[in-house]
Subunit: 196 residues, 4 copies
């Protein structure tokens, strides 16, 4: 029972993932999803309340891990203040880690969530990253420009996802992320005109 239940639940989640990848949240069809999962349409509703909750279930783990990651990076910076590059590296490698466990899920919530409760995932993540960047750069010094920082965070986050969805070789991903880190954060204080 329990075993079987779990197996079906997994099949549904896998099919849902594929469906969301192809059609996005709004365009996903329950019937097609059921067919993919080799499960009756109605049976899906024994495992999940509705389409939205399937999406939640898919997103959940990645969401949790990403949140933990940001929180960690916050803790890290308390001890090891002042080096934005190491923070960025930590976030990047953290996201990579999450990606290695929940890659497709992450891409779905990032790029295919329009119409769902999580359609502002990328925005939220960006905001968290921006907060971390601001904390690092302007801890003691003056007031940085929120929009500029948000924009950098956005480019950084978006860049991570572009790398992740373009490349599959893990070494190549790491190399590209490193080059992106350099591009984004080398001499960043100078380029931003941070005095402190």
């Amino acid at each position: 029972m329990q075993y079987q239940k779990e197996e079906i639940r997994a099949r549904i989640l896998e099919a849902a993932l594929a469906e969301f990848e192809q059609h996005g949240f709004a365009g996903a069809q329950m019937r097609r999803m059921a067919r993919r999962a080799r499960v009756a349409t109605g049976n899906i509703y024994r495992y999940f309340k509705n389409k939205e909750e399937i999406f939640d279930a898919i997103v959940q783990a990645g969401y949790r891990d990403i949140s933990a990651l940001i929180f960690e990076s916050h803790q890290l910076s308390k001890q090891n203040r002042g080096d934005i590059r190491s923070i960025a590296r930590h976030i990047a490698s953290g996201i990579m880690g999450v990606y290695s466990r929940h890659g497709r899920q992450l891409l779905v919530v990032a790029n295919k969530s329009s119409g769902s409760r999580h359609e502002d995932f990328l925005e939220t993540l960006t905001t968290m990253v921006a907060r971390r960047i601001r904390e690092e750069l302007y801890s003691g010094a003056g007031e940085g420009d929120d929009v500029l920082i948000h924009l950098i965070a956005s480019g950084f986050v978006e860049g991570l996802f572009i790398i992740l969805r373009s490349i599959s070789d893990i070494q190549r991903i790491e190399e590209l992320i490193n080059r992106m880190l350099i591009f984004y954060f080398q001499d960043i204080e100078c380029r931003l005109g941070v005095t402190g």
Copy 2:
């Protein structure tokens, strides 16, 4: 007669714009749009053939101007090769100009066009910008990394839209764009490790 017609057409376009802003192309409802415009559902169809054509009408001008801009920047770089900053400045100020005329429309086509004919607008724009960047940076020198360049183009374009949708004061926009240009393109060759 003629006056009234134009007024209604404008009301419909305004309502459609608001509807698309809130719900995106696919989620937009003709009945709600009609209600917003204080117009009968069927009357919309006297002014526009269907939902898609309303979207087109909203998007059109921005689309045209952006295309012209990219083309211009290509011409410009032929005469004035080698300075990526001036190209970037040209694109940025061009997009600013388009935005000052068609701001909300530009944001809609950029971020709310999923399901419409123009759903890949941002991707297309990014690709064009990436091509321009590659042309400037690697004209004579070695082969740059496509993904890295694409990612920079994406961050740059996305950044422009973030500025535009966050800020309304035109002077402030200009200042921020300048700072973003510095952030993205100062010593870019160095940060990318371009040898040429």
Copy 3:
């Protein structure tokens, strides 16, 4: 006023006729009809209550004439009993006469009236003709078969309309109708096995 009214009324009727010819009653569109008539859509409703009444107005004259024709042929046969051929000739030439005055209208009510009040026009006409045939053939003699007679009437009536809508030359029409009369009514008693 009155003159102008009549001219517009005529324009509407002409446009309606063309519209019905092309699209049938159900497929006809009031807007297109108005455009054809170079009249505002709403103005049509000052002259006619609705689509159905326009159709009625078009059909009316032909209807009246055809009814009169059948009635005449009834009178005729009272005086001049026993010759079905002369009756048929009378009906044929009568329909030709009506056709020469209201040709297009007749074809419309015969073949394009589906969905209107007059969609059974052909059936009704056929029934009247069948009654006349029966009166002639079986006045004193035995009981003829209703279905067979109806079927002959139908073929005869349908044949008339085929000729009318295929051919425009009036002499050729007359010739063909004569040949059809021969085909249908020569030795009809014999072919039907009428004893009387």
Copy 4:
């Protein structure tokens, strides 16, 4: 499961048949059809792709059989040339056979198909019959008049359908068809003035 499915499919087809009989293809409404079938509107679309395909499903068998019949009669006449009566008898008995299997369906496609893919069914059938008549009558002899022959074919075909829809007793149908054959084809050469 399977049984129920078939039962519903049958209910839908029966309801559709009734709906088409009463309102014709164009006037038929899916909601009314669903109500007749005691089925939800959407459920119809589990069984048939759309209105047109329901019509096709109803018409199909009759269509196929009629086409086969005409083809057969063509083969027959190659072997047994010169006797139009036997050809007519073959066609008549063939149509009777089709009618005995798909009576209402045949009447629907013949008289209620306006707006559908099959709206010219009767015209097509008539044309095929006319061709057969011409082949028989004018094989070696002179040119017959196309309109006259078409008109006879039309009367004959129309007559068949009148008999079929008026009468239910099979023996009576046969008798009437025989009488119609006599009426239409006895001494036909003479009545048409065929010299050969």
